[in-house]
Amino acid sequence: MSELRELSPSRLAWLRFRRHRLAILAACFLVVLYTLAAFCEFISPYTPEQRNVRAINAPPMDIRFVDAQGQFHFRPFVYDLKLTINPDTWMREYEEDSSTPYPLRFFAKGVPYELWGLVPAERHLFSVDPRGPGYIHWFGTDSLGRDMFSRVLYGARVSLSIGIVGVGLTLFLGILLGGFAGYLGGIVDSVVQRITEVLQSIPTLPLWMALSAALPTAWSPITTYFGVTLILSLFGWTTLARQVRGRFLAMREEDFVVAARLLGANDSRVIFRHMLPSFSSHIITTATLAVPAMMLGETALSFLGIGLRAPVVSWGVLLQQAQNYQVIVMTPWLLLPGAFIVVTVIAFNLLGDGLRDAADPYSSLSEK
């Protein structure tokens, strides 16, 4: 007889989550993206402000293994770009010059930087020898000749972290206020409910705009960052607070909670040992699904020019350059940050779906 093993609820949830292939994929993608964002100084070949005047509005460069003569090289390389001005249209046109390959170097010294603003370093994951004339712009450059790949990575750090920090604040406010309302009931409940109703009845975008416009322009980039996060989460907590309140109200009468109180457990024990764990999975799911909303909020504000401002780099700030239709025709690679936003938002939604199914004890364990 095979031995019967006892599976804990969290283990069962993990088994259910594993069935959700898309959610696993999304989780892996997000882990990679967050790692890239965390080490963006090391991974990007340039700093976001560095200009390359020889490559203004340059298109994305191909990283090659096979040269023009059809020969395979073990070390990848890029070809130089040759700028020509089209005499008819006066447009800058770049052409690959296959006579001068620039080999890529890995973990080599390049532009000096400070990792997380603390650790001075100068090695980059990949680069082209900065002492020579070569350069590498995998995602092309913008109108000032700044490397888009580096800027997208630096922007990822801001955009992705604003989602997490904002949701953290939202969760804190939502659980605290919703918990108070649900557990204490009475007048506290009424006050929180009325505030929630008022906040939910105001259209968010105009309100964000009004508040963001009130942020002093003299604020440092980091203060503005937290200001914007605060604005986004001040209006995001209401839905979660409602849910937490409902759960608390229902759970207060739950037999095992009454049992704990009759055993003499104090309020904090009842809340933290019995009530919160029973819907922590629900909270995690809600939080995961709230991250993309937060990111989209930041992007929307920055795109409209009232959220984060240059020199801060975020995906929304990067997209400001793509506001006119000329960009779409002539330098479509400036839209790449938009693609990152779309993919990240989709990934978060898929992950949230997977978590929701995993948290539901009644969803099937079998293959779908």
């Binding site: 609820p9 009454v258 049992a259 009759l262 055993l263 003499g264 024990r269 040992r273 029973s278």
Partner: protein, 271 residues
């Protein structure tokens, strides 16, 4: 036999609607008092008011604790804490009354932790003892409630109520959610624990056959008031109140040929 509990003029209303109306009764130590009545007659509100799971509006609940008589109704939540060790409750629903996220070990240990009793190894040993007492396997301790059947869960619920060595145990419909054969096992267990530990039970039920079997005294409730109380034999043999007669007439017979003919509710003067 000494008195353990003395309830006087207990009242509780919800939204102006009286649910428990001036109820008084006494309970002697090591006896079982059955509380019967139809759904909505106020049985559960009555025992929950005694336990202070809900706060009664007026009246007194005097309890003869190890430190002498105390009025539970007047004590603050803090002063009530030591008495929580002496008065415990066994719930109706064996599924809802156990936290699904805690192992049996954690569930049974919690009362000891709350009351600051013993160290880790002592608590572990105590849990093993109590599991044996309710006839559960020692290996149950590491399992989660969802791995047990209803009867086994109810045993865990009983173990949780008994681990603090209480004197008064309130059983709120504790066997009505179980099927009949399991009911008998649980009742046997409760009876043997009573004779072993000298427990006093407040036994809320709507199944009169169970009450006749299990209780010494019985208290019949209707619409928040007590209509009749006395020893089980007396009440069952010679009911005085119409409502009690109605209840007794509604007990189905084990003989399938015998037709159940409950008394006509309309024909009785219940108020």
């Amino acid at each position: 036999m000494s008195q353990l509990l003395k309830v006087t003029d207990l009242c509780k209303s919800f939204a102006g609607q009286g649910v428990v109306k001036s109820v008084s009764f006494d309970v002697n130590e090591s006896t079982t008092l059955g509380i019967v009545g139809e759904s909505g007659s106020g049985k559960t509100s009555l025992v929950r008011s005694i336990l202070r799971a809900i706060d009664p509006d007026s009246g007194s609940v005097r309890y003869n604790s190890r430190e002498g008589w105390q009025n539970l109704n007047e004590l603050s939540a803090k002063a009530l804490l030591p008495l929580r060790r002496e008065i415990q409750m066994i719930f109706q629903d064996p599924f809802a009354s156990l936290n699904p996220r805690m192992t049996v070990q954690a569930i049974l240990e919690e009362p000891l932790i709350i009351h600051g009793l013993g160290d880790k190894s002592w608590r572990k040993q105590r849990v093993a003892e109590i599991l044996e007492k309710v006839q559960l396997d020692a290996s149950s301790a590491s399992r989660f409630p969802h791995a047990f059947s209803g009867g086994q869960r109810q045993r865990v619920g009983i173990a949780r109520a008994l681990i603090l060595e209480p004197r008064l145990v309130v059983c709120d419909e504790s066997v009505s959610a179980l099927d009949v054969s399991v009911q008998a096992q649980i009742l046997d267990l409760l009876a043997s624990l009573q004779s072993e530990l000298g427990l006093t039970y407040l036994f809320v039920a709507h199944d009169l056959r169970v009450v006749r079997e299990f209780c010494d005294d019985v208290l019949v409730m209707y619409a928040g008031s007590i209509v009749e109380q006395g020893p089980v034999a007396e009440i069952f043999e010679n009911p005085q109140h119409d409502y009690t007669r109605l209840l007794l007439s509604a007990i189905p017979s084990p003989d399938p040929d015998e037709k159940l003919e409950p008394l006509d509710r309309e024909g009785l003067l219940l108020e």
